[in-house]
């Protein structure tokens, strides 16, 4: 949460001390303005500290929501009006996941990297020819990397501009059908919660015993599901298979899946399976 513009805003606390948030950390200075190595207990238990912690926790939740929303725009192939991007841009919780993303305005259009909003309130992108151009009013698409041509060229271009991505797009793990067999069943976790926590850490919802990833492929809403288990959180668990369901939660034949649904499902299973307990049960 480097979302505080780097500046510290000191607020008065008990006993003449002052408190501020440095990222997610509560910091304290005394009346003379000297930074203390730790927050005195009386101050830490006081109302000012409690207020700051509540604010910090809310900002963290807000930032997580913004990040998940931007990722869902990419995975759902959702057209986002340029005006929405321009309006949310001043908030770092939105700006950080958005900036550096490859966007297009037409499925066949030239991709560019989102970099700023100009003084007329238009989002601007850096094009591969080095030019910085404003987006036209209207929908903006954040393509899934599996749909981007010349991924290598785009990566090099982004790296050359020093543009990182908070929502992994150019460096996202991409899987193609036929890369090999997919078998993520039987992954052992000493405790179910190790698996569910790991899923949540990578941004996957855990619903009814499955890690779930929502995508759209060719306009069709789909869900990839990877079975983690629905027993007690501290019970030993073995993962089940990976499968996909449609908007009515009916299983979809893997042979009919488009490239995005395939790639995202396998990515989810791969990320979670990699954290299984090894060693003797």
């Amino acid at each position: 949460m480097a979302a505080m513009s780097g500046e510290l805003h000191w607020i008065p606390a008990e006993g003449g001390y002052q408190l501020a948030l440095d990222g997610a950390k509560l910091i304290c200075r005394n009346a003379a303005g000297k930074r203390l190595r730790s927050v005195p207990k009386a101050v830490k238990d006081g109302q000012a500290a409690e207020d700051l912690r509540a604010l910090r926790d809310h900002l963290a939740r807000h930032a997580a929501t913004c990040l998940a929303t931007v990722e869902s725009w990419m995975l759902g192939a959702l057209p986002v009006p340029a005006a929405v991007i321009a309006q949310v841009w001043p908030d770092p919780a939105w700006r950080e996941p958005l900036s550096g993303l490859v966007v297009t305005q037409h499925p066949e259009g030239a991709p560019g990297l989102l970099e700023d909003v100009d003084d007329q309130g238009r989002p601007t992108v850096a094009r591969r020819d080095g030019e910085s151009v404003p987006l036209a009013p209207g929908p903006v698409l954040i393509p899934h990397p599996v749909l981007l041509g010349d991924l290598g060229g785009l990566r090099a271009f982004a790296a050359g501009r020093g543009a990182g991505q908070r929502v992994p797009q150019l460096d996202r793990e991409v899987y193609h059908r036929g890369d090999g067999p997919i078998d993520y069943a039987g992954g052992r976790f000493a405790e179910l919660r190790h698996a569910t926590t790991r899923a949540a850490r990578f941004g996957f919802q855990v619903r009814g015993g499955f890690a779930v990833c929502r995508v759209a492929d060719g306009g069709r809403p789909l869900q990839a599901r990877y079975w983690l288990g629905a027993d007690a959180p501290d019970a030993e668990a073995y993962t089940g298979g990976l499968h996909w369901v449609d908007g009515h939660e009916r299983t979809v034949d893997a042979g009919s899946l488009g490239p995005v649904a395939w790639s995202e499902g396998v990515r989810m299973a791969e990320l979670i399976y990699a954290g299984r307990s090894t060693g003797v049960a």
Binding site: A3, M4, S5, E7, H9, I11, L21, D51, L52, A54, L55, D57, H58, L59, H62, S72, W73, G76, L78, P79, V80, P81, A83, V84, Q87, V88, P90, D91, P92, A93, W94, A185, G186, R188, R207, G208, G209, F210, V212, A216, G219, P221, R225, W227, A230, P233, Y238, G240, G241, H243, V245, H248, E249, R250, T251, A281
Partner: protein, 396 residues
């Protein structure tokens, strides 16, 4: 052409889309954050509740942009429910927001105090608000990883409906039930209470239909059918004067088509034995239930229904892999009986398979007969395990 449904759900449909409300950017500032704004995308219905929630944290009133898109009207949650269903009493609901925030904040560290705070707030609210209010309290406990109190709050919501004979939107209520169930916050006991409530609220036919729908949706969502499901559903079917046997078979056929049914516990399978036996053998062969202790019982059922006659070699390989899953399953006497019966045919077809492993894994020396056809299969393909030394069967 993309359906507007998706876009409405995502709050990104074009302005003027029917069945939605305009979404705007609300820009909030906070004295401790300097120039940094916090921006939320919200409709009018949730926007006002959002303002209250942020005011509790010290944010000022927002600067609201012109409408940008159209999104679904979110009547989910409290106080949003009131703004959609009882706008005349919205003020009371919004007045509760600060207290709800305070309670949610301590739901993890001091759940008892949080629950008391919710109870104090509830005492001040119109009765019709209580189900939605308690559900929202339950959500706070779900977010705080407290499934126990969340289930209690869910129960209080249902209790308010019964006590004050409030009208119920069954689709909305089922959605909340599933939301709590998928979050792991509803014990099986709560399902029994829910089933009992359906029975008192509706005439028997409706009560049965509602419980069946709930069971199917819960399974579609990924939770295995609970152990008492057969008895509970059957009781309501009987009360409704339906052909219980036929209803059993119909429900079992539906559930077997859903992957999570595989993980149901043993009592579920045993209770539905007759209905299962009536299903087509090809369907049964594809189930591979995973419950602890189910394997031999299940193979017995397959044998009895003839599902093991004429089975393909590949199935034995899959069954072998299935028995190998992580619960230390024993070898299978049923498979030991079956393999000699089908071996000649499979050998004639020249199909390689892992039948030896399936039949002998973990079986003790005394219960394992000698190998039937030492020349077949020529080799067991990986990853089928070789019989362990001492299993009485030399590896091919």
């Amino acid at each position: 052409m993309r359906e507007h449904d998706d876009l409405l759900d995502a709050g990104l449909a074009p302005l003027g889309t029917p069945d939605g409300e305009p979404i705007a950017a609300r820009r909030y500032r906070h004295p401790h954050l300097g120039e940094r704004p916090v921006i939320r995308l919200a409709g009018q219905t949730t926007g006002e509740a959002e303002d209250r929630a942020l005011a509790f944290l010290g944010f000022g009133a927002p600067e609201v942009s012109a409408p940008l898109t159209t999104g679904r009207v979110h009547a989910l949650g409290y106080p949003a429910w009131t703004l959609a269903h009882d706008p005349a009493n919205a003020r009371q609901a919004l007045a509760a927001v600060t207290g709800m925030q305070r309670a949610a904040r301590i739901a993890r560290t001091r759940p008892g105090v949080a629950a008391e705070t919710y109870a104090e707030l509830a005492a001040e609210l119109p009765r019709a608000h209580l189900p939605s209010f308690w559900e929202e309290a339950g959500r706070a406990f779900i977010a705080a990883a407290g499934p126990g109190p969340a289930a209690v709050m869910f129960g209080l919501a249902r209790e308010a409906e019964t006590t004050y004979a409030l009208p119920v939107d069954e689709d909305a209520r089922r959605a909340v039930f599933l939301e709590f169930a998928f979050a792991g916050a509803l014990p099986v006991k709560a399902i029994a209470a829910y089933a009992a409530e359906l029975e008192t609220r509706y005439e028997p036919g409706r009560a049965y239909a509602e419980l069946r729908e709930l069971a199917v949706r819960r399974t579609l969502g990924g939770l295995p059918p609970w152990a008492e499901l057969p008895k509970q559903v059957r009781r309501l079917a009987k009360a409704a004067g339906l052909d219980v046997r036929a209803e059993d078979e119909r429900l079992v056929a539906t559930l077997l088509s859903v992957p999570s049914t595989r993980t149901a516990r043993l009592p579920f399978w045993k209770e539905y034995r007759d209905a299962l036996a009536a299903q087509p053998p090809e369907l049964l062969r594809e189930v591979f239930p995973t419950a602890e202790g189910v394997d031999e019982w299940w193979l017995g059922l397959l044998e009895e229904t003839g599902a093991l006659d004429g089975l393909p070699a590949a199935w034995l390989t899959r069954q072998a892999a299935h028995l190998k899953r992580g619960y230390g399953t024993r070898g299978s006497a049923v498979l030991l009986r079956t393999v000699p019966r089908v071996a000649a045919r499979l050998a004639a077809e020249g199909s390689p398979c892992g039948w030896k492993a399936a039949a002998t894994r973990g079986a003790s020396t005394s219960s394992t007969p000698t190998c039937w056809t030492p020349a077949w299969p020529p080799a067991c393909p990986s990853p089928i395990p070789r019989p362990t030394p001492g299993s009485g069967c030399s590896a091919g």
